[in-house]
């Protein structure tokens, strides 16, 4: 059983190929610009509520790149929380969907104007609906994990939540059900640890040495990693996923991340300066290592700022759902 350990990014082994680093940077910027646009839309009255994941791009982008994407048991089942637009973008999703959901237009591909920002759903990619109740995704993950265990193959269930939510019983349910002797489930449990639950510091509420350490009691392999470094995240995810895909057993990965705009619009959604900005840190490294110039970095941001602004404009002009549509899809309507 491995003990939880912090991985120093400087000791994280060989880096990735330059083109991979550039690709990850592009996606991280795209996600950051998208979230900042969503926040702006909220502040300008083009949405009622914002919640998202600026500060988690260095982890969420590698995660998206490593997912086995598709529909059905041959592909990964995804039980995400509401801070993962960067994962979706890395999987190839168009950003306009998130903008449409923020504006709650009829064209919102995830909920038809019914749900908050960041509450994605895409059955075509096994992306189970993101919900507002905290941690319920750890319960539904049990079910897809069971089906995948029976089916075989190498596809896995990936479930993500925050550190505060691990206090919920559903997190314990997932630990118990995924480690039943002889019935272990291929579930990659991810806890992005941003040290906060809205306004409450996790250090005042949870006394475990680490969240990952809770896996140890269940015989679940676990690790704490630095989620602010995309190279570390990529490598560690590769390793954890390879284990779950091959061994068909669970893995608990605790990932330290930042929360750069607070919990949500309810807490102002203003940039905080006292947490690590994974994007700024990565850009410094890219520049220092000669992978990208500052000019090239700036161009990426300008390109996405302009493209996403145009998408936001388009979303703002699209119609809202019709009132009578509240009656649609209460029960499944055979397509």
């Amino acid at each position: 059983m491995s003990r939880p350990r912090l991985v120093d990014s400087a000791k994280s082994g060989p880096s990735l190929a330059p083109e991979q680093l550039v690709q990850m940077h592009d996606l991280m910027v795209k996600a950051r610009v998208l979230e900042e646009r969503l926040i702006q839309m909220y502040k300008q009255g083009d949405g009622y509520f914002w919640i998202g994941g600026p500060g988690e791009e260095a982890f969420n982008v590698p995660l998206g790149l490593l997912i086995k994407k598709g529909r059905g048991l041959d592909f990964d089942y995804l039980h995400f929380h509401y801070r993962q637009s960067a994962t979706l973008l890395a999987m190839g999703e168009e950003p306009i969907g998130a903008l449409r959901q923020m504006k709650n237009t009829a064209t919102d591909p995830y909920s038809g104007g019914r749900n908050f920002a960041g509450h994605f759903s895409k059955a075509e990619w096994n992306l189970c609906p993101v919900t507002s109740p905290i941690e319920v995704q750890y319960g539904t993950a049990i079910g897809t994990g069971l089906a995948q265990k029976r089916y075989g193959g190498d596809a896995i269930t990936i479930v993500t939540g925050g550190d505060a939510g691990t206090a919920e019983g559903d997190f314990a349910s997932c630990l118990v059900w995924s480690s039943r002797p002889g019935n272990e489930l291929p579930i990659l449990m991810i806890v992005t640890h941003n040290k906060w639950g809205i306004s409450t510091a996790s250090s005042t509420q949870q006394g475990a040495r680490s969240i990952a350490d809770r896996g140890t009691a269940f015989g679940i392999k676990n690790k704490v990693i630095d989620g602010n470094d995309p190279v570390v995240a990529y490598r560690e995810l590769q390793e954890a996923m390879a284990y779950v895909r091959k061994e068909r057993k669970p893995f608990l990965l605790e990932v330290t991340v930042s929360r750069l705009y607070g919990h949500s619009s309810a807490s102002g959604a203003n940039f905080v300066t006292n947490e690590v900005d994974c994007l700024a840190q990565f850009e410094q490294k890219l520049e220092a290592d000669g992978i990208m110039t500052r000019q090239a970095i700036d161009e990426v941001r300008e390109r996405w700022t302009s493209a996403i602004a145009a998408m936001a404009k388009q979303a703002r002009e699209e119609p809202l759902p019709a009132p009578e549509s509240i009656w649609n899809n209460i029960f499944w309507e055979r397509k």
Binding site: G143, S173, N329, I330, F331, E333
Partner: protein
């Protein structure tokens, strides 16, 4: 003639053999026990879970998301309450994703009083469940309907809450399930697990036939034209018995078994009330925001000028639990004499 527990078992067997049921699971659902009410003995897709109701409902949702057809059991409805937000989530998954996902899953949980179950084995759940949109909710009152409703439930593309009344689990039916032997002892030999060591035992299933009760369709248990009595679950046979008793007094009661709480058969209820002008709703859930109250509201809204008397309800008392002592339980949920008295009083009312 099968009892309700045997009927459920046979329906699940039919479901796993012919209708794609992949998982029948819950606490003590698999071998060796096969369910605390024996509803899941001898089946091939049963398995036991940790003692974790939220895990059970979460697992059912995830299995449905992964294209399986699960039937999850919560051992007693009294213990389903800590899963309410998951039930809400299952009910809103299709709607909140605008049809992107839907959940073909059945949750089965025995309800109601009548087995001397005290405070935590006597809860009803129909009224509470009717507050959770996105579910279909069914409640059998006899073994044949238990079989037919379950066959419909496992073929549904939406979540179905299946609520068998505990007090009726051991009551034999009056109508044969297609394929079951008429002799109850013969059926028992075939499908009831023996006491003691069961490790070598296998059920010998009769050649069962397809019989589905459509969700959303009630049943006229007894025709009549003086008063309408609408009931569901445990109180249906009590209402039928009361109607039989009152016939001698010249009261002709039409008794409707609603069978589905949602979406309910309003057309059947409405047609009967239009005929009789008097209606009594009977069930054992607590009376405040009882599902019968919704039916009263709709009756008043839509049929006010057809009514010859105010619509009435006989339901459970609004007390925190069913006390174990006999006089306490009898005082808490409708008894035969309560139903007879209410029917007699309603029949006697003059506009």
């Amino acid at each position: 003639m099968a009892n309700m527990a045997q009927a459920i078992r046979m329906a699940l067997h039919y479901g796993e053999e012919n209708l794609g049921v992949t998982d029948i699971f819950g606490e003590d659902v698999g071998a060796p026990l096969g369910g605390v009410f024996t509803c899941t003995q001898g089946l091939k897709t049963t398995w036991n879970t940790p003692l974790d109701e939220r895990g059970i409902i979460g697992a059912a949702m995830g299995l449905a998301m992964a294209g399986q057809r699960p039937v999850a059991e919560i051992q007693f409805a009294d213990y389903v309450f800590n899963t309410i937000d998951l039930l809400k989530l299952a009910g809103n998954t299709c709607w909140s994703t605008n049809g992107d996902w839907h959940l073909p899953m059945v949750v089965m949980t025995p309800v109601g009083a009548g087995i001397r179950g005290s405070i935590y084995h006597s809860h009803s759940f129909d009224a509470m469940m009717s507050h959770i949109p996105g579910w279909k909710i069914v409640m059998p009152s006899n073994p044949l309907d238990a079989y037919g409703l379950l066959l419909s439930a496992v073929q549904e593309e939406n979540p179905v809450m299946y609520l068998p009344p505990k007090a009726l689990m051991r009551v034999r039916g009056e109508e044969l399930i297609p394929g079951e032997p008429a002799d109850a002892r013969e059926l028992s030999k075939l499908i009831d697990a023996p006491l003691g060591d069961r490790s070598q035992w296998k059920a010998q299933w009769p050649d069962l036939g397809y019989y589905a009760v459509p969700i959303g369709k009630g049943k006229i248990v007894r025709e009549g034209d003086t008063i309408t009595v609408v009931s569901w679950g445990r109180t249906v046979p009590m209402c039928a018995q009361a109607a039989k008793q009152l016939e001698a007094e010249g009261i002709s009661a039409e008794v409707i078994d609603l069978r589905t709480i949602y979406p309910y058969d309003w057309e059947m209820v409405k047609a009967s009330i239009e005929k009789t002008g008097k209606v009594l709703f009977v069930n054992e859930d607590t009376e405040i925001t009882n599902f019968g109250e919704h039916l009263v509201r709709r009756t008043v809204d839509e049929l006010f000028f057809k009514l010859l008397a105010a619509p009435k309800i006989v339901a459970g008392k609004h007390v925190p639990g069913i006390g174990l002592s006999d006089p306490l339980e009898r005082a808490s949920v409708p008894q035969n004499e309560d139903i007879v008295a209410a029917m007699r009083a309603l029949a006697a009312e003059q506009p």
